[in-house]
Symmetry: D2
Subunit: 384 residues, 4 copies
């Protein structure tokens, strides 16, 4: 069982997450977590805030001599720009933000809700996801995210090369598209406008059988959708073909099943192979051994330098929306956030099925189930 | 707190759901539930099974003299076609279904997993959603679903007239598109193929402040995404503009905020009005009083009369996938399922915030919060 | 993950439970479940109702050819005495029951709440627990309950012989005490009064490591306390020595740790033995391999034939409490209920740690962890 | 919805809790929290550690200008004695602690598990409970804990005077018993032994209708039992009469119901009064308006200066258990811990029923339900 709560405001003293359920025995590679935090702060189109913060993770519990103990792990990020108590109340709520609905709902000022709703919170969620990925890494599961489209400019992947992504100013796998994207961001900045995009995450190495068909809330795709739609500014989620699946005939969507005995010993798929992966690695709510593919639509940031139409809350008169310091484009960051949020959910599904007391025990129970599956497949006809 | 578990197999004796958290005092309008069940069974493109079943709801608990008592409500649907024990084991798993991954995961035959994974289960989920909507109906919240696209043929709504939808053979709001859609279904049947589509649900009358920005898993959009992606064959979920939001500049996505005092007494929005609703009624994970708009992509049914490529599990030799009796197109049904699943989640969010002990108490606490919000808005400047 | 919801009223048409998480591959031994139901209905001191009902379990889902499939299992008990709609509203609420607080809370009549609050509900909870114990039985974990005290008459166990308990009219392990207990029940009946008692459940064969110290709500003792206190009429729960532990010095409570290599291969304790078991098998919220001992105090039934003082709700005038048909003593039944409720929780803790997809997988992962623990113990000094 | 996760080790850098669900608008009275922390550290019989720590709460999130915002609140306690990385591995596990079972379960050394299992964790749980009680205090609910028995010496309350308790070296309400208790603690210290005791918590002012009879896990007594048994070293929990109820006839347990119109306007009980409160304020899992009474048995600390029998884990040879610095008696502390843990659960039940968005909204919805209940009671005969 892996679970977490996060806390913290955009300009409060610190962001905190408690993550419970990380197995004992995992080397807590802070450099890996810091690298993900750094990537979250990067990408062309970010504003001044990112220069103020250089996120470094503090681990306050759950560790002994640099190794996890099975106890809850406290992740803490200190805000350099911790000026919350000095910030003023916005006069005019921004459309697209929680400003209006949240301040009515909680009966507070706008400041109180925007500070918590801010995407700054995703920093500690990235840290929690990166922490969970330390577990995945130990058992051969990789999670990889990139930008697939930005500001309406498609950047179909030309490879799955991490170095290509990391060299891209906008985290694509398509160097040919990057210049146009950068230009679009510059143009948006000029116009006081913002840009959104589409990000994709691919998980490889998952064993067959994460998630389940037996109850709606145990379906892996449902859980991934919840986690990804729960990220600030995400307005759509797709698994595999997604909406494109709705447009094709069934014969062009259904992934054939093949058996390639020569690959049987290779990986966790027992020789079963699919020539296509339209399902995105999940059938009937269950991981099927193929790469899990999750795509998310990030809307452009609703805070506009040009300030959209709004009203003054005290007088109800028309007024441009308050401007809070913000980015022109945070799609590259969103690719990092979604990648790590997906990683967290995959780890949660893994640890729900296998014994997560210690890393050794996780490995041992995964191996035991794998061996049993293999034996059962060899004696298929004897199934009840 | 509203929660449910469902149970039952496609050809088992019965489907059952226990729904806990329906307030006392709700008249259990079985005709409403049965009507939704009937709609789920309808729509052009369904197969022979739907003719065998005429779903009628049995309510086995939680009621006294036709009114809910606050106790858990048992919903039961009897399967006419309850031949599970006589059914044979499929020789070749169907791609796109849980057949392969599920039988490996649970170490059973294919029959055991496909029977539970079947979309037949959605019948009782529709019943649970329709039950929850009886509560919504009492407090002025309506949920409305329709088909927006089918087999790649767009059917943009020409109205929001229930009668139009109910007169359409494929549950669209666009009579002009229906003939082409029906023809496409016929063509698919001829070809031994299947069709998918896009369905949309609109919720009106929600008070401001369902869901919350304070923690990812409390965001209303995240919960809706979980519920909708948890429906069989759904591969994508959008809120409001969805993926289209990723392609527009922020100035074309952000919904301006207006104040129209003349409408102040009209509804639950205190006079706040948005000229557009690109956010789909949810900002910062919180309902903002505008209609909530959820769209879902349903893939075509993976069971093909033409039988896709697969393997014989016992011999591992190539073999066409087993054919189980199925529909050519279940997109109209999906519109009913998603509508009711969304209704359930909205009711859950409502009952999490307001007192769900009895219907009167729900109304009283909603009214109390409304009055308080109004008073607070009138004294905005005094907010802390 | 094992979870359940129950539903149903005392005089409704049926009681239902959906139990999700039973592994595939478990032979659904209905005779075992029916035997527990029969035991629940038995014991000296029961009233007329038990003669009207002869509970037999119906399994409506989650099974194929008599074996579990991993899908949710629906348990259903039909009430012979299903006269709910003809029952009248009690005029005067009974102290000790939910009558007053519940009818105020739910704003219903008293009938609506007492029907759900009735201990009749425990019938289906016993069925759910017995179902879960089918899993425990397959992996060598036994659960055993008996009456330890009744009406203030102690019946300390003279053995742990099931046959002795089953031969006792009041389910004790002390034939010498039975006559006095039966006489006390007769005397109570004469007086229009009722009797309570203390029941004990012992779980043997649990592996070390169910539950956890890492978070309060994961402690096995906390979960057992929740489940047992959640049984109707239970007012106290103890683990091991319980309240007696509060009265002894630490040196008389702490269980010494011994190592007896000759027993190393015997069971799940790796040769570790405790000469005493004052902790009741749980240290730090974690099972330690010794028998788990849970004791519960059942108050006497609050419905008195002699009718306690109350008021007429309509007039508020003094009035004897309404009498609903009831038992003089249900302590033997309580021993069965607690036994099965404890069994359910133990199974839940087991399936949270080990893979519960199938019974074979449960066994394989338990064996893998056992082997790993053994290896680690043999190399203790190498622990980090 | 109120929920929390705690984290931190006994000698780690800090203890942390994230508490989500505190309404907006609550003045965060740190002095109140610090006072509870100070009380937890006090009481006759504590060891040297308490002198090293002077717990002061840091609030890292969820606050603006000293008032809660509705966002998660981070509570942090810094350990002065943060020497975890310098501590050695205990050679011989202590009976009664998680040492043996936990290090097998998590496959770590003993140090890793004992640090998290330590009762030091309760400091931050007290802080979380005290925080929740700030909400209760605002709506007229009080929580009060004291020591009822220590080392087998009964200290029946002679009053409910906070000043008496606070003046007692061992937190009793019985100054006559204190000297004997202090002497017993001294004697235990001399003997290298430890003492346990019984603590009681009383909650007054609860509205009728917290918790519910409709499902076992929603019963208020079940939740309280879970929370209290989840406290380190607690081995028994009672509500109201507890085990004594099992020994009396029903006529001496059932609390009569009276109506005293002269008190109708006084409080939250609508004039209903019970001359006795054997039920401890909870009937059918629901608060009934009477004081809620919870009693817990705390075993003596298992760490003995005289070192109990154990084994050396590396050699398996007999060895006295390792001694970790500890207290002779922590029963007064336990009274504070249970008091605050109970407070947290009561607040959770309150916020599950009423709107916890803001303190004003909590008050408004409580008032709305109260008014509705009153009206319904005045028209009782019209109930359905």
């Amino acid at each position: 069982m892996l679970r977490t709560l996060t806390a913290g405001e955009s300009h409060g003293s610190a962001l905190t997450a408690i993550v419970e359920g990380i197995p004992a025995g995992v080397t807590l590679d802070r450099a890996f977590i810091d690298r993900e935090l750094e990537r979250r702060q990067g990408g062309y189109g970010r504003g001044k805030r990112q220069k103020l913060e250089t996120d470094r993770i503090f681990i306050d519990s759950g560790t002994f001599k640099g190794v996890s103990t099975g106890a809850p792990i406290t992740l803490r990020l200190i805000n350099n720009d911790a000026k919350l108590e000095r910030l003023s109340e916005p006069a005019a709520p921004r459309g697209g933000h929680v400003d209006l609905a949240g301040s009515i709902s909680y009966q507070t000022g706008i400041r109180q809700v925007l500070e918590r709703a801010s995407a700054r919170e995703t920093a500690v969620r990235v840290a929690a996801g990166a922490l969970a990925r330390l577990v995945l890494r130990e058992v051969g599961i990789t999670v990889f995210g990139y930008v697939a489209e930005l500001g309406g400019i498609a950047a179909p992947p030309l490879s799955r090369d991490v170095a290509v992504r990391d060299a891209s100013p906008v985290y694509t796998l398509n160097p040919e598209a990057d210049a146009a994207i950068v230009a679009a961001i510059d143009a948006a900045r000029e116009a006081g406008d913002t840009l959104g995009g589409v990000v994709e995450t691919i998980v490889t190495g998952c064993p067959i059988g994460l998630g389940s068909h037996v109850q709606p809330d145990r379906r892996l795709d449902a859980r991934l959708a919840c986690a990804v739609m729960g990220v600030q500014a995400i307005k759509g989620v797709e698994i595999g073909l997604g909406f494109e699946a709705a447009r094709r005939p069934g014969s062009k969507v259904m992934d054939p099943i093949r058996y390639e005995p020569e690959h049987d010993a290779d990986d966790r798929r027992y020789g079963f192979r699919r020539p296509s992966n339209n399902a995105g690695g999940i059938e009937g709510g269950t991981s099927n051994g193929e790469p899990i593919v999750v795509r998310a639509a990030k809307k452009p940031i609703s805070t506009l330098a040009s300030r959209g139409p709004s009203i003054n809350m005290a007088t109800k008169a028309e007024s441009p929306a308050t401007y809070e310091r913000s980015d022109v484009c945070a799609v590259p960051a969103a690719s990092v956030i979604v990648e790590n949020v997906v990683g967290f959910e995959i780890a949660a599904a893994l640890l729900e099925r296998f014994d997560g007391s210690s890393l050794d025990s996780l490995r041992a129970t995964m191996a035991a189930v794998h061996a049993l599956n293999r034996e059962k497949l060899d004696h298929w006809a004897e199934r009840p």
